[in-house]
């Protein structure tokens, strides 16, 4: 039984790490800048598709045998490209809803998500089919019969690194200061010489790039990627971010771990748990929001009169 428990814990870690990367993006956008961006999940899924496309090209044209380095290069390109996509979407569409009522931005970004999905489906060859995705690293080592894939540890390390990195960016760099300034009061920030649009662009880049890493990990862990993965990834990632508290970087990873934890727990212990995993996950969301309306680590919203 000990072995099983350890295995369950590892599974939990994998899920939580992947989710955290997507949740970070949501937290950054929704929580810090109050940007409603329901298509973040779909943007994150663009990452693995770009990576696949680049890899096909690389492997055929340039590096026909080095699998691993092709993957790394492709991932790097994908992350950068997705970041740029985020910036482009902001500039084209989302920016125009900044002063609009929240509901409008919500519906617009949901429609945007559908557009992104359909574009992936149509532009990627045989886009309707699931596309196999290579594993990041297939090595694993054994500890007393328990197989520990290195990829699990890698993903977890990257997630923690991202959380730490974002925290550092937000609180220790000039860029972070500007972001927080814009978040606090856009007009005063402008008076201070900050270009709000540039700051939004930068934030979108960071959030989308981190999301792309999450998307690539998600595809790698599943072994395939499909154009409509963005819906569920976005919903669950958003829920994780909310549970942890929007705007809080460490909240994102803790919220993800909590959500992944309930999921794994339900599946592992209850006989019918697997069928109800979404029910448990979302009941948890409702519960957390009832008890702590701004999430576990979110800043309570005070309304100034």
């Amino acid at each position: 039984m000990d072995m099983l428990l350890a295995q369950h814990l590892l599974n939990w870690l994998v899920q939580g790490s992947i989710l955290a990367l997507v949740a970070l993006g949501f937290s950054l956008l929704f929580g810090v800048l109050n940007v409603i961006h329901f298509s973040h999940g779909d943007v994150s899924i663009v990452g693995p598709f770009v990576a696949l496309a680049v890899m096909q090209y690389l492997l055929v044209e340039i590096l026909p045998h080095t699998w691993a380095s092709a993957l790394i290069l492709a991932a790097a390109v994908a992350i950068f490209a997705t970041g740029c996509l985020g910036v482009a979407l902001d500039w084209l569409v989302i920016r125009r809803f900044r002063t609009a009522p929240a509901m409008m931005a919500l519906v617009a970004t949901v429609a945007l998500g559908a557009v992104i999905r359909e574009l992936i489906r149509m532009l990627y060859p045989q886009g309707s089919n699931p596309q196999p995705f290579p594993e990041l690293m297939s090595a694993q080592f054994e500890i007393e019969g328990l197989s520990v894939p290195i990829s699990t540890l890698f993903m977890f390390a990257v997630s923690v690194l991202m959380v730490a990195g974002l925290y550092v960016i937000m609180h220790r760099t000039p860029l972070g200061m500007r972001i927080r300034a814009v978040a606090q009061d856009r007009d005063i920030a402008r008076l201070m010489g900050i270009h709000p649009n540039r700051i939004f662009a930068a934030t979108f880049f960071i959030a989308s790039a981190v999301g792309a890493i999450g998307g690539i990990f998600y595809a790698s862990s599943a072994g395939l990627v499909r154009f409509d993965f963005g819906i569920q990834l976005g919903l669950i990632g958003f829920s994780a971010a909310v549970i942890g508290g929007l705007g809080s970087m460490h909240g994102a990873i803790i919220g993800s771990l909590v959500l992944a934890g309930i999921d794994t727990l339900a599946q592992a212990t209850l006989a019918d748990g697997a069928a109800y995993r979404l029910v448990f996950a979302f009941l948890l969301v409702i519960l957390v929001l009832v008890l702590r309306p701004s999430g576990l680590f979110g800043k309570p919203v005070f309304e100034k009169v």
Binding site: F30, A102, M104, V107, A111, L112, A114, E118, F282
Partner: protein, 397 residues
């Protein structure tokens, strides 16, 4: 001047040629609109469909460029209210006879009407009180399942199941309202999304709801021996059996419009609008925020359940996949694109979003993409919706 309408009252009487002009506008728009809709429904030719969309777009572009037009039209409708109402009812009543016996056209109209009711239901929350609710499909589903289960397992008459289903859904609506009280905006949206998904999964997993295969063989309602599955034969005209449900759905739409107007003009509507403007100020005014919010959830669920029940009896088969998160998103889009807090607007939004994807089957593969792009363009170009909400009138009317 905000909220005070100077085209009503003593000023208006100074307009010359007013009555004839107004009648012309009202009759022209109603009959013209009905005719356009009919062509849209019945034609299959690509160029006709695209052409009609272009006409529609041009009309709204005209309204956008010349806002005066909008005012004139609004004035005309307000002055000739009784005439507009009677003409409208007349058109709705004889519409099925003009459909050339096409059950497909009637089917589209029924679906559009049911969604219009759903959009109206959501309008109370979203439009009037600015509460984002992604769980309307859940209320829709609960209503449908309640009616269906009662009719199938207990043989209860269809008409009796309607109010029971509505009550059940309202209870669930209040259940959703409770956690919704504590949250705001994005968090509130997520709570409703979560609720919607939970209901969908439960409907799918429980065996007594039929599981993923749903419930089949739901009996059709009947009035005075006339079953809704048999065609209507009147004055030598034979209407397909869908016509029965068309009239039922139309009756429900009429009922919803009446409810909407009553609520809008009552203290409740006023309170909801106050909540939307500024919740804190509303609370300071002594408005019981919690009660009115709960009421919004309840009313939404109540109406949605009616639509759900009728849907169940119409298609005689329901499955959990009829009531997903995406359905809620569609309803929300209808309200926003149609014009928040504008009764006619959300109905127009519902018709648009139901008929457009069906008629664009010609583009099949690109259907979803097209609808998504259209929605975004719409929100960019005409953010106030098809028919924007109008300021309340405190003149003499």
């Amino acid at each position: 001047m905000h909220g005070v309408d100077i085209t009503a009252g003593p000023m208006a009487r100074r307009q010359t040629g007013g009555v004839v002009q107004s009648v012309a506008i009202v009759a022209g728009l109603e009959i013209g609109g009905a005719a356009l809709l009919r062509t849209f429904l019945l034609s299959d030719a690509t160029w006709v469909v695209v052409g009609l969309l272009a006409v529609f777009g041009a009309a709204f572009a005209a309204l956008q460029i010349r806002p005066r037009l909008e005012e004139h039209i609004a004035v005309a409708f307000r002055e000739m209210r009784l005439f507009a109402l009677l003409l409208g009812c007349g058109i709705v009543l004889i519409y099925p006879f003009l459909m050339q016996g096409s059950s497909y056209a009637l089917h589209l109209l029924i679906t559009a009407q049911l969604y219009a009711v759903l959009a109206l239901a959501l309008n109370f929350q979203l439009g009037s009180a600015n509460i984002p609710n992604f769980a309307t499909a859940a209320s829709y589903g609960i209503g449908a399942y309640s009616s269906a289960l009662l009719a199938i397992h207990f043989g209860i008459s269809v008409w009796l199941t309607l109010p029971v289903a509505a009550v059940v859904a309202t209870v669930f609506g209040f259940a959703l309202g409770f956690p919704a009280m504590r949250t705001r905006d994005t968090y509130l949206a997520l709570v409703t999304i979560a609720f919607g998904i939970v209901i969908h999964q439960l409907l799918n997993n429980f065996t007594w709801t039929g599981g993923p295969n749903g419930l089949a063989g739901i009996p059709a309602p009947s009035i005075l021996g006339h079953s809704f599955n048999s065609p209507i034969i009147l004055l030598g005209f034979r209407l397909p059996s869908q016509a029965n449900f068309y009239y039922l759905a139309a009756a429900l739409v009429a009922l919803s419009i009446v409810c909407a107007r009553l609520l809008h003009h009552s203290r409740v509507g006023l309170a909801w609008n106050a909540l939307r403007s500024d919740e804190l100020a509303a609370r300071c005014q002594g408005i019981n925020v919690v009660w009115y919010k709960m009421l919004a959830f309840g009313v939404d669920a109540f109406l949605a359940a009616f639509a759900g029940s009728i849907y169940a009896f119409y298609v005689s088969y329901i499955a959990p996949d009829n009531f997903t998160f995406l359905v809620s998103v569609t309803i929300m889009t209808m309200v926003i694109v149609g014009g928040m807090d504008n009764t006619f607007g959300v109905i127009a939004g519902a018709f648009l979003l139901i008929l457009l994807p069906e008629k664009l089957r010609i583009f099949d593969d690109y259907r979803l993409l097209f609808v998504g792009v259209v929605v975004i363009l719409f929100l960019l170009l005409r953010p106030q919706g098809l028919f924007p909400q109008r300021p309340r009138n405190y003149g003499d009317h």
